[in-house]
Amino acid sequence: MINPEQYPILIVIVPFLSAFFLSITGCFKRSLCRPIALLALFGAAAAAVGSLHRVITTGIIHYRLGGWPPPFGIEYVIDHLNGLVLVVITLVALLAAIFSGKSVERELPGKEPLFYALFLLLVVGLLGMTITGDAFNLYVLLEISSLTAYALIAIGQDRAIHASFNYLIIGTIGASFYLLGVGHLYIMTGSLNMADLASILPQLYGSKAILTAFLLILIGVWTKMAFFPLHTWLPNSYTYAPTATSCLVAPLMTKVAVYIMIRMMFSVFTPAYVFHHLAMAPVVIWMAIAAIVGGSLLALSQRDFKKMLTYLIVAEVGYMVGGIWLANRLGITGAILHIVNDAFMTLCLFLAAGTIIHRTGGHHFDNLKGLFHQMPLTMTAFTIGALSMIGVPPTAGFFSKWYLILGSIQAGRYEFVAALLFSSLVNAVLFFRLLEISYFEKPPHQENTAHGPVSMVAEAPLTMLVPLLVSAITLIVLGIYSGELVTKIIQFAVPAGI
């Protein structure tokens, strides 16, 4: 039996080793790939839940890789914040992997071994970025997750290759800025370990190089999370990616980037430096407002529901960034809660979209016509996701939005409240339009045969339906237990001194 001490490394190592094992097996027997991937993700999820449990009961976990003490070796640190994010990542990845079976078979025939190996490596990248306590280690894993994402997006249809190329160029700029920021920290302090940096930095807060380092890291991470003026790569790449890819990438990539921003702002730098010394919070909040309003408006102009969802991601990133920069407890709690909720919301919506695409073959609004009668369960799940996105209680989306609004009122940022309400309104318009099309309009895929009109669209296969329904139920469960989540975990994740 494995010692619970070793859980942190298992979260990363199990999918990592399995990726190579899977790749080797794939050379001989292709059908074994999916079971291996599922098993690996299940193992990682179990280890992540175990670690979170240990964090809640015994406190922060430190794990020394290679047995070297922290500033010299690499260290894994799990606290309440990233313990939670790790659980979210592994669960979302597991659901997405269960879902992806049929769509990979259809969209990428013959490429299952490569696809699942890259899928696992992408998850490893995301997990490793979340768990690590070393600024440079984060960069390496950032590159792993980015490279896999470029490849997994490029194999989609239509303009996916070009979108992926753009993503590669902009993503490389972002990652390089991050690396350069870490370099600035290194040249001024001589350390790469986050905790060590945090202990040295306070003496250097007046330094121009440290300010530049902070800006560079911030811009790098913003590029990766598609924060408003830097979002241009996101919509096309997520829209034209294969279904299985977008179900994994859309819920997780931006959220992990938001997590990295929180980690950098509060664990490497301090809230005092970020909020009081720099006084750039108003600017960032206005940018977040621009993201929310811009994302919503752009979503409104789409006639393609997958693309519409991608613009909503841009708006949601604005929620989280704005919430963090409100610089009070309620706002940050709301933002962290929204990382969890939004991951599942996006997952639910993208899984539903994936199911619809699988059955109808397109992602235009016209494809939705009459689907409520043909795929009732799928559309119910889609409705729950939509309600959560709008922020209707008791779904999860309501509670994080509630915290965000309370936080912005407390901070006196009424313009942010207005942006949040505006975005909810736009979401309501968007989703009710979709639901209207799918409920009232006549399906186009009917053929009049001798036996009367026969629908060509049926309910999704079970492997797709189960993860979809699970994610929809999760949204309600998260909504009901959001109080618990906040008091048990998130309130410890908010940094002291706010």
Binding site: S23, C27, L114, S207
Partner: protein, 342 residues
């Protein structure tokens, strides 16, 4: 560091970099970019970063330039000129570059002077590596010991990056053309198709290749005592196969290293690396804590076990890197079909 050479080479590098993006011929740009990498290699050497220089010499100057040639061979050499076009893009580019330049320049005023022995970077963490490498790991080359031991975890993922790149190239280019579903295990065995009889080149290649491969093995094994190691050795091994494929035919290499073999080798390499780490886990220590291996390696102490494990790790890295370099080159040069090479 040697400041006179430093100043000159940096100036040359700027000229090269500028001309690379100005020149109107993609092949020419690739050649100048190759020269740029040559100069980079000199710059690292002059600043004492011998391992970086070695990697740049093999990866930057060698393989990546050849990859550019392969890509230009498969696409076009010609850059279209539009005198009035893309004003918007140019403005954005200039503005972004200018803004970034100003911010970075602003930061440099606070930097410690170049090559200052008392700078924080040289006094905080690194002394431990310099003084500790022999007592902790018995490896004289401290870059190797930091790479494979103190920060061995980074290196594992770095190798994974290379593997990821290989898989990515396969999955991206695997779609083009009419080739059988992956992985290709057997290609049509046939005579060498290209009709160019480069007797001198082929003769030289035939003589050189065994020596080069021997040299690569030396680089892998001797990385503890001199610059070099798994990456550099692996790239040189891969480059010898690229050399064969250029001077003979692509078929000559793919007959020996088909896609399946390459994938197997690369994954085995990474399994060796992470397997050594996992072995430490099974033996009761933390992941990658090589000292635990002293229990099963005969005749080692906890210190020399680290040195031995590093060698194992380097071999894994070399296998993976070699296979992936061959894989990427083969796919790029034939546009994913393995039909004709450069």
């Amino acid at each position: 560091m040697i400041w006179q050479i430093d100043l000159l080479i940096l100036t040359l590098i700027v000229i090269c970099g500028f001309c690379t993006i100005v020149v109107k011929d993609l092949l020419g740009a690739a050649v100048i970019f190759g020269a740029y990498s040559f100069l980079m290699c000199l710059l690292w050497t002059e600043m004492g970063a011998v391992d970086v220089a070695f990697t740049e010499a093999s990866v930057g100057a060698g393989v990546s330039t050849v990859l550019f040639f392969a890509a230009v061979h498969r696409t076009t050499r010609h850059v279209k000129m539009k005198p009035s076009g893309r004003l918007m893009g140019k403005t954005i580019g200039l503005a972004a570059a200018g803004l970034m330049g100003c911010v970075l320049l602003y930061a440099t005023t606070d930097f410690p002077s170049w090559a200052d022995p008392n700078s924080p970077a040289s006094t905080h963490v690194s002394p431990r590596y310099i003084t500790g490498t022999i007592p902790d790991t018995s490896v004289p080359n401290m870059v190797t010991s930091v790479l494979a031991d103190y920060r061995g975890f980074d290196t594992m993922f770095e190798t994974a990056v290379i593997l990821t790149a290989g898989l990515a190239v396969l999955i991206i280019l695997g779609q083009t053309g009419n080739r059988s579903p992956l992985p290709i295990s057997r290609l049509p065995q046939g005579p060498i198709t290209q009709g160019y009889d480069d007797t001198i080149i082929r003769f030289i290649t035939r003589i050189m290749t065994p020596f080069l491969q021997l040299f690569a093995l030396y680089v892998i094994a001797h990385g503890h005592h001199s610059p070099g190691g798994g990456f550099q050795g692996g790239v040189i091994l891969g480059a010898t196969f690229i050399l064969m494929s250029i001077s003979y035919d692509l078929r000559m290499v793919t007959n020996r290293f088909n896609e399946r073999t390459n994938l197997l080798l690369a994954n085995t390499g990474l399994l060796i690396y992470s397997g050594i780490g996992a072995l430490c886990l099974i033996l009761g220590a933390n992941f990658l804590d090589y000292s635990a291996l002293a229990k099963i390696l005969p005749g080692t102490t906890t210190i020399t076990a680290r040195s031995e494990a590093m060698l194992g790790v380097e071999i894994g890295v070399a296998l993976a890197v070699m296979a992936i370099v061959i894989l990427i080159y083969n796919n790029l040069v034939s546009n994913g079909t393995y039909e004709n090479g450069l």
